[in-house]
């Protein structure tokens, strides 16, 4: 059961590029060897909103991981131990993605339904409060 996570971590600003890439590839390989996928983006140096440790800037790195919880736990443990990493935050995103998918589906199907009959009552806009009028999908509109 793979879950989607977003892991953002901040590395101290005086770190060299190659060391950073080495660190990222180590983490990615630890994820993929445990049977997950990882993708990372380096946001670059940014000013921090408050002083962390002794630094006012940091290099932000974002990693999208698709793996089980144990794998992410291991990655976090490594990050905690790594000296250049000063902060990290993991967010679980699969519930959010599921919700967005559902909304998109409802919106798409509503667009199709209102495209066919040019009913006088139903406006063509896919606005969710107008769900009871379309009456094509009563169960789907309720949880939204």
């Amino acid at each position: 059961m793979n879950r989607n996570y977003e892991l953002m971590f901040i590395v101290r600003p005086d770190m060299v590029d190659e060391d950073l890439n080495k660190l990222i590839s180590t983490l990615e390989s630890s994820v993929s060897s445990a049977g997950g996928t990882a993708k990372s983006e380096v946001w670059g140096k940014r000013r921090l909103a408050y002083r962390v440790g002794k630094f006012n800037d940091g290099i932000f790195v974002l990693m999208m991981i698709e793996a089980t919880g144990a794998v992410v736990h291991e990655v976090e443990r490594r990050l905690r131990v790594t000296e250049p990493v000063i902060k990290f935050l993991t967010v679980r995103t699969d519930e959010e993605l599921k919700r967005l998918d559902k909304i998109k589906k409802i919106r798409d199907s509503k667009k199709k339904a209102s495209a066919q009959p040019v009913a006088a009552a139903a406006p063509a806009t896919p606005v969710t409060p107008a769900a009871p009028e379309t009456a094509t999908e009563p169960p789907a509109s309720a949880p939204v």
Partner: protein, 124 residues
């Protein structure tokens, strides 16, 4: 006169009481508390200083623009809902609807944790 000795929660302000700058109706239990329950923010003015007119109905920015996902990463969007002091602005001032305010608040707290937004003080 009996009406004058009582506080101005007289016969005029029996339901809603929007036209009077009065405090909460303690002796009128059927009113739903001191806060106006209306989602649009309602006449939040009269309580605070005698403004008698309805404030322009504020709409939820997220509902209007149909922004579904509020991410902690888009600092520019989040910073619009944060005051100068770093505090999250209440929804009666911004007009955001409740589910979006909850998601927004969560995203702001996540952003604060990852040093994208400050906990206190101005955002540089």
């Amino acid at each position: 006169m009996a009406e004058e000795t009582k506080a101005p929660t007289g016969s005029a302000g029996s339901s809603g009481g929007e036209s009077r700058p009065e405090r909460s109706g303690g002796d009128r239990p059927e009113r739903s508390g001191p806060r106006s329950p209306r989602p649009g923010g309602g006449p939040g003015g009269p309580r605070e200083g005698g403004r008698k007119f309805f404030r322009r109905k504020k709409v939820c920015k997220f509902c209007v623009e149909k922004i579904e996902a509020v991410n902690y990463k888009d600092v520019r969007l989040l910073a619009q809902f944060v005051a100068e002091s770093g505090k999250i602005t209440p929804r009666r001032l911004t007009g955001v609807c409740t589910p979006h305010q909850r998601r927004l608040s969560r995203a702001i707290k996540q952003a604060r944790n990852i040093a994208l937004l400050p906990f206190a003080g101005r955002a540089q």
